[in-house]
């Protein structure tokens, strides 16, 4: 008869202080392997191991669920190891296996070993070793730094261990071995040491290789692919597989120096008429990408801005608004918005092109509409309160440009290339900045047209103002006396 019965109860005496850093990958490994070890029912049912080997390990419900699903009521056997794969996935969709933790069983039995005493204690030691080793592998440091650039994912599966995804020169650590009457359990970890992959592939536009990982194993016991799960449990309420942020491929990545307005909308230029709905947006400031000038020839008082001389590199952007407000089709409207493209995107520059414009420097071509009628300064639009400073400047440029538009043949337009800036890849931050600040917008009060307009109004209202002031003469006098 056994005189000693080993039982443990959790949490009653010892303070179980958890890792405040939330080591995701280690916890999941511990949890999944501890579940396996816990369910390792040995022949002697008196000593079925029910507790956590007297080691306080916080269970993560999702991991428990995944591990139980993978276990499916069975235990590791020869050729059927329980594996936990830890991988890294970047925000661009590239992924890389970092570690594979493997719980194997072989047929080497130790019939004479005492289960309740020796095996139990050795399994407890194995768990402690697992705790220690999980802090030592390179993936631990990566998991501590996961966030926007990459996340750490895990996957639990049964079957043959596949180490080919770990790259060349991977290293193996044997965490421990425990002999039992049913076989010998071995826990090991194979980890990648060549982590240079991340930095070189960071800016490559390669398709995500998740498909390869999912189909990694030839004879998977489960017909459906086991999905990867994130290892980040620092914020509560995250859903499976949706915990990590994903960066859009292009559009909305653009940053501007002068505006926080939403990205402009791409509109295919159409000559047949019909205005694509344009969201009423505040005008954009200078963009940091390849962009084109907006060019339009509206019929009515829709807002527009003229373009500066455009080349493929030196561009500024203005967005139009309020076309939609007019409600009537603009047959001659050739409005092209600029599509914002993320930095380092190898998209052809002429993806967004002025397809309808055949002649260079088309903005200088004689227009059908009088400029002044469409001058935003004269007829301010109803909609956006925020106007891009660029708009005015472009207007001024445009007006100056258009005034000389007829004589553009006398000018030789030279590409504006500021020193120390490149044209081909990076957007013309420096050029647009320089140009914009060379041409600041006119002050509205100093604008002659506006001045002329408001002067008449001022003159009309002058008598009224004088009458009011005369009424308050005494207050003014008292004020003046206080100043003396």
């Amino acid at each position: 008869m056994f005189t000693k019965c080993y039982r443990g109860f959790s949490g009653s005496m010892e303070p179980a202080a958890w890792s405040s850093w939330g080591l995701p990958s280690a916890k999941q490994i511990k949890a999944s392997i501890s579940i396996t070890l816990r369910r390792f029912k040995l022949q002697d049912s008196f000593y079925e191991i029910k507790r956590e080997f007297n080691l306080a390990i916080k269970d993560i419900p999702e991991v428990t669920h995944e591990a139980k699903k993978a276990l499916a009521g069975q235990l590791p056997a020869v050729g059927r190891s329980m594996c936990v794969e830890i991988s890294l996935k970047t925000s661009e969709g590239d992924s890389m296996e970092l570690e594979i933790w493997c719980l194997e069983m072989n047929e080497k039995c130790d019939k004479e070993i005492k289960v309740s005493y020796t095996v139990y204690n050795r399994l407890s030691l194995l768990l402690k070793s697992l705790l220690a080793i999980t802090r030592v592998t390179p993936a631990y440091r990566l998991s501590r730094k996961q966030g926007h650039e990459y996340v750490i994912l895990y996957r639990i599966y049964f079957g043959e261990v596949q180490l080919s995804g770990l790259g060349e020169g991977f290293q193996t650590v044997r965490v421990g071995t425990v002999g039992t009457p049913l076989g010998t359990i071995t826990l090991s970890c194979a980890y990648r040491i060549n982590l240079a992959f991340i930095s070189t592939r960071q800016f490559e536009r390669t398709p995500p290789i998740m498909g390869i990982i999912i189909d990694h194993f030839v004879d998977r016991p489960y017909p459906s692919s086991s999905p990867m799960h994130p290892c980040n449990y620092r914020t509560s309420g995250e859903e499976n597989g949706a915990a990590y942020p994903s960066v859009e491929d292009s559009q909305e990545v653009c940053t501007t120096s002068f505006s926080t307005s939403p990205p402009s909308q791409l509109i295919v230029p159409g000559k047949e008429g019909g205005v694509p709905p344009v969201p009423s947006q505040p005008a954009h400031g200078t963009q940091a990408d390849h962009e084109r000038m907006v060019m339009c020839t509206p019929l009515d008082g829709a807002l527009y801005s003229a373009a500066t001389p455009s080349s493929s590199e030196d561009t500024e952007t203005v967005s139009n608004s309020s076309e939609g407000k007019s409600g009537s089709p603009h047959n001659l409207l050739e409005t092209i918005f600029v599509r914002k493209v993320g930095a380092f995107v190898n998209k052809p520059i002429n993806q967004v092109t002025m397809a309808s414009l055949d002649i260079p420097f088309a903005m200088f071509a004689p227009k059908n509409v009088e400029l002044e009628d469409n001058d935003p300064m004269v007829n301010p639009p109803d909609s956006p309160d925020v106007e891009s400073p660029l708009q005015g400047s472009l207007h001024s440029e445009g007006s100056s440009g258009s005034s000389t538009g007829n004589t553009h043949d006398d000018f030789v337009m030279v590409d504006f290339k500021p020193a120390f800036s490149k044209d081909d890849i990076l957007p013309m931050d420096l050029g647009t900045f320089y140009r914009e600040f060379q041409n600041p917008p006119q002050l509205s009060s100093l604008s002659i047209d506006i001045g002329a307009q408001s002067m008449a109004e001022d003159l009309d209202s002058l008598p009224e103002k004088l009458a009011v002031h005369e009424k308050n003469v005494k207050e003014f006098d008292a004020f003046v006396e206080t100043l003396q």
């Binding site: 000693k4 005496m13 303070p15 402690k128 705790l131 080793i133």
Partner: protein, 218 residues
């Protein structure tokens, strides 16, 4: 019964000594500690649960897991602090070693005192280096971190060889095997000692021992 001896060597900068020693000692004690035993009738007992927590080092790129017992941590910090001070003020070249010895008590009859029989001794040899500039210190941070990773793996390999461990004692004998003085964890009986090697290359202790032996031999 032979005492198992393991030796680990590491070179660290002066300010890394404390953290490196704590990392190694805590890792060893994590494996050599259990929950508190609660004896019941009929010779049965239950074992309490041990919690763990991570510790990030400030001067080394390294994190280790330790038993979440403040008492045990304080005891280790005190011993390591004394070792660090001895290293600093001994005037030696910065070479020393700290030993963690697990032992069993064997009751002896009066008037002899109890005998302490070590069954496992871990010796960590430390070589303190002086670095000239911040760049070297940064490299040292990473390198020492990697070295400590190797040491942890070594420790785990030794632990999982499943060599001799004292038998689980009865209630009357538990104090001969385990340190029951802590309230939240029960490590095997252990003691920590250290030696500082002077500039002559020999330890002060061995020199003293030699002197005493020589004196007695006369």
């Amino acid at each position: 019964m032979n005492c198992r001896a393991e030796v680990l060597e590491i070179s660290v900068e002066g300010r890394q000594v404390e953290e490196a020693m704590l990392a190694v000692l805590h890792t060893i004690l994590l494996h050599r500690s259990t929950g508190k035993f609660h004896y019941k009738k009929e010779g049965t007992y239950s074992i309490g649960t041990v919690g763990t927590q991570d510790v990030d080092c400030d001067f080394i790129d390294f994190t280790y897991a330790r038993v979440s017992s403040e008492e045990l941590d304080r005891a280790l910090r005190k011993a390591v602090g004394e070792f660090k001070d001895a290293l600093r003020y001994s005037g030696s070249d910065g070479i020393g070693q700290i030993s963690l010895e697990f032992y069993q008590k064997k009751k002896s009859r009066w008037p002899f005192s109890d005998e302490c029989i070590p069954w496992e001794v871990w010796t960590i040899k430390v070589n303190v280096v002086n670095l000239a500039n911040e760049q070297e210190r940064q490299i040292c941070r990473e390198k020492v971190g990697e070295k400590l990773c190797e040491k942890i793996i070594n420790i785990v390999e030794v632990m999982n060889r499943h060599e001799y461990l004292p038998k689980m004692p009865t209630q009357s004998e538990v104090d001969n095997v385990f340190d029951t003085g802590l309230k939240d964890v029960q490590p095997y009986l252990y003691k920590i000692s250290y030696q500082i090697t002077d500039s002559l290359g020999s330890s002060v202790t061995t020199t003293m021992r030699r002197l005493i032996k020589d004196t007695l031999a006369l």
